[in-house]
């Protein structure tokens, strides 16, 4: 690290300025910022212009001996996701203030007109209930929605509840009794580790945040790592490198480049995240301004400052680790077109971490997740999600950070050797062997 700094700083400053002042940077940053802000407000805006209409369903009942009003039952599920038992007891859905905004279920006596309305797109669905020869209830749902459509799934649930209630009734069980049958059991989940006890909303918030952390880390590494590789390859193929290297050492150039490009990347990042936050904050006021309900605010889990600091460290170290290696990869090619090929293994590695983290989100205390969350190339993805979803011991977190930091040092050492050997090798394809040979002699 001998006299790394004045020059690495000069390099970083130039890199940062050129990058941030570039037209492409300004344009992309502004575009992404606006896109993110608009996206967060999109539901409110769509609702206001009426694209995101609440579902409207017509029910045609071909049998008049139903004990439960199917309209009420479907409405109950669509609006309040009420439990089927309550539905069968004939309880009207709990009054929801903006029920009208959420779903409208009407009974129709003219199924043909209603079916045409569905085909014309005026209605979202038509549920036809008939009694079949066997005496059972038969349901037909006419709509344009696929099997994963929320409304269709709720309608299916309502149909199931209606059919079972009807069978029980025919078997001589009264509606009130069948209501009891459907009541959810008294089920309590108790966390073995009292530290892990948390409310479900808190967990949901943590889950979403963990997703966000993994995706943002992945995008930062992929995008800004690529910037580093590209700009190294540009300097090399344009032969500016030959001049630069008279003034600064390869290690100074490498460090400066990673810092400068990283800082530019983070600048863009901060703008985007800032736009996201502004979007979230403005969501409420804008929704009420537009006169629509707006989404419920995202429940954020409790974060201690230490946790936030740890996330920051994992992100920075992971970012430096990958971009240092991206720089080394960029120094190995002679033509800019070959950069993608050279960074292939790194992309693969970061993808592996990304997918592992996604798998890990569903089962954060699995053994393999615990092991991978300590391994340097994966820990920037996995450890933050583990910290959000479970409570790894602080020894584990510190160990993961220490391993990551040690790997960063090793990567800088290796990368600056590859870089000093690579940046000046022109014309020849740089293979593993020539790199190894060059790293032995160069400094």
């Amino acid at each position: 690290m001998r006299d790394l700094f004045p020059n690495a700083f000069h390099v970083a400053r130039r890199e940062y300025r050129v990058r941030v002042r570039g037209r492409a940077f300004k344009f992309t940053t502004a575009l992404l910022g606006i896109a993110v802000a608009v996206l967060t407000m999109l539901p409110a805006i769509l609702e206001a212009v009426g694209i995101e209409d609440p579902p409207e369903i017509a029910v045609s009942v071909g049998s008049d001996d139903l004990s439960t009003d199917p309209v009420v039952a479907v409405q109950a599920l669509l609006i309040a996701a009420a439990d089927p038992g309550a539905v069968l007891e004939g309880e009207a859905p709990a009054p929801v203030p903006d029920a009208e905004e959420r779903a409208r279920v009407t009974r129709t006596r003219d199924p043909d007109t209603a079916a045409q309305a569905v085909r014309d797109g005026e209605l979202d669905g038509l549920l036809t209930i008939t009694r079949s020869e066997s005496g059972d209830l038969a349901f037909e749902y006419l709509s344009n929605s696929g099997p994963t459509n929320q409304t269709r799934m709720l309608v299916t649930q309502a149909a199931t509840a209606l059919a079972i209630g009807d069978r029980l009734e025919r078997a001589g069980v009264s509606t009130a009794e069948s209501g009891e049958l459907f009541a959810p059991p008294d089920f309590t989940a108790i966390a073995a580790d009292p530290d892990e006890a948390r409310s479900e909303e808190d967990f949901a918030g943590a889950f979403i945040l963990a997703y966000a952390v993994v995706i943002l880390t992945f995008m930062a590494i992929l995008t800004y790592g690529n910037w580093v590789a590209q700009s190294v390859a540009e300097e090399k193929s344009g032969r500016v490198m030959e001049l630069l290297i008279t003034a600064a050492t390869p290690r100074q150039l490498l460090t400066g480049k990673v810092i400068g490009t990283g800082a530019a990347g983070l600048t863009q990042y901060v703008v985007i995240v800032g736009a996201l936050l502004i979007g979230l904050v403005l969501n409420g006021p804008i929704s009420s301004l537009l006169g629509v309900g707006g989404g419920t605010p995202l429940p954020l889990p409790d974060l201690t400052p230490i946790m936030i600091a740890a996330f920051g460290l994992f992100f920075m170290l992971g970012f430096i680790l990958y971009s240092t290696l991206y720089a080394a990869a960029g120094s190995m090619v002679s033509r800019i077109e070959d950069v993608q090929q050279a960074v292939g293994p790194l992309i693969f590695l970061s993808m592996a971490g990304y997918f592992a983290a996604f798998g890990g989100l569903n089962d954060p205390s699995a053994g393999w997740v615990q092991v991978l969350s300590l391994i340097p190339f994966f820990s920037p993805y996995l450890m933050p999600s583990r910290m959000l979803l479970t409570t790894p011991s602080s020894a584990e977190v510190v160990l993961a950070l220490a391993l990551l930091a040690a790997t960063v040092v090793a990567a800088i050492w290796l990368a600056s050797r590859i870089y000093s050997a690579g940046v000046l090798m022109y014309g020849q394809r740089v293979g593993i062997r020539s790199i190894l040979r060059a790293t032995r002699v160069s400094r």
Partner: protein, 304 residues
């Protein structure tokens, strides 16, 4: 010119660089002394750039050793590059910076003061208006000028310049030569490559000639010029004397009262021998170094 020869600034011993089976440079041995303007001459592709880039640690020698400013090129290349003013052949600069920003950037990193920049820019006709423009908009010649300025702006002890006049118009070449003259006067050492003989003749104290990666000869330019043959035309009033009586004159043609021949060696002896009241006219045409080289090669074709 010098008294006792000081330690050489550049010392190259049997330097060899092979790319696979391609022998870019074979057994180059030469020394450059302090205060010398040393020309490194050869046709394109002779291995000049390979030698220079090996000296600066950009390439690793296959065999042989060399030292620059007393430092070994294999182990101390970082320091060598820092202390040497270097102009790469076919220079590339950051397009997105202005000429001035490029110069500032490099001098900042070298941690030195650009003492000579103002003077160099003036002599090479790089006004502020040009320096403020982006390199992207520069012509080939402007880039080359910036390259020369960056190599010399911090007044290095040693400058290694790869084809410095490439892309400069004749006027600017001239300005560059006069800059080198001044450097010599100040005791700086310059090692530069060229494929233009007249340039070397004009500037250098010594010149190494390289061809196909091998050193052909090292010459003291003064000596070479002294040794070269001159075309001599002498006219007498009356009959010409017997050509055999004229020392050092070869390839003699007698044309009435006129003798034309090639004179090699000292001029003084010849002039004394023709001095007579009958001497009507004497023309001694200076042979260029180019002719001297051609002669040299004609007699010593590489046959090793």
């Amino acid at each position: 010119m010098e008294g006792t020869p000081p330690a050489p600034v550049i010392s190259i011993r049997a330097l060899t660089k092979h790319y696979g089976s391609v022998e870019a440079l074979t057994d180059l041995t030469l020394e450059v002394n302090q205060g010398e303007i040393y020309g490194f001459l050869g046709p394109n592709g002779a291995g000049k750039s390979t030698a220079i880039r090996t000296l600066l640690g950009y390439l690793h020698a296959t065999r042989g050793t060399a030292s620059v400013l007393g430092m070994d090129i294999a182990t101390e290349s970082v320091e060598i590059r820092r202390l040497t003013g270097y102009l790469p052949g076919g220079i590339a600069l950051y397009d997105s910076l202005s000429g001035e920003q490029v110069l500032d950037y490099l001098v900042d990193m070298q941690g030195r003061q650009p003492h000579r920049r103002a003077e160099l820019c003036e002599r090479l006709e790089l006004p502020t208006s040009v320096l403020k423009r982006k390199v992207r908009d520069y012509s080939r010649g402007m880039r080359q000028k910036i390259g020369v300025v960056q190599a010399l702006q911090h007044d290095p002890e040693l400058a290694i310049l790869d084809e410095p006049t490439e892309g400069l118009d004749p006027l600017m070449q001239h300005a560059f030569y006069s800059i080198l003259d001044d450097l010599r006067r100040e005791g700086r050492t310059v090692f530069f490559s060229s494929h233009v003989l007249s340039e070397v003749e004009r500037l250098c104290d010594r010149v190494a000639i390289i061809r196909a990666g091998r050193l052909m000869a090292i010459h003291d330019v003064g000596e070479l010029l002294a040794r070269r043959r001159r075309r001599v035309t002498v006219r007498w009033r009356g009959a010409a004397p017997d050509p055999a009586s004229l020392p050092g004159l070869e390839d003699v043609q007698v044309d009435g009262n006129r003798i034309i021949g090639m004179l090699s060696g000292e001029v003084a002896g010849f002039v004394r021998s023709i001095a007579s009241p009958n001497l009507d006219d004497l023309i001694i045409e200076p042979a260029s170094l180019e002719e001297a080289f051609l002669e040299y090669y004609a007699s010593e074709e590489p046959g090793q």
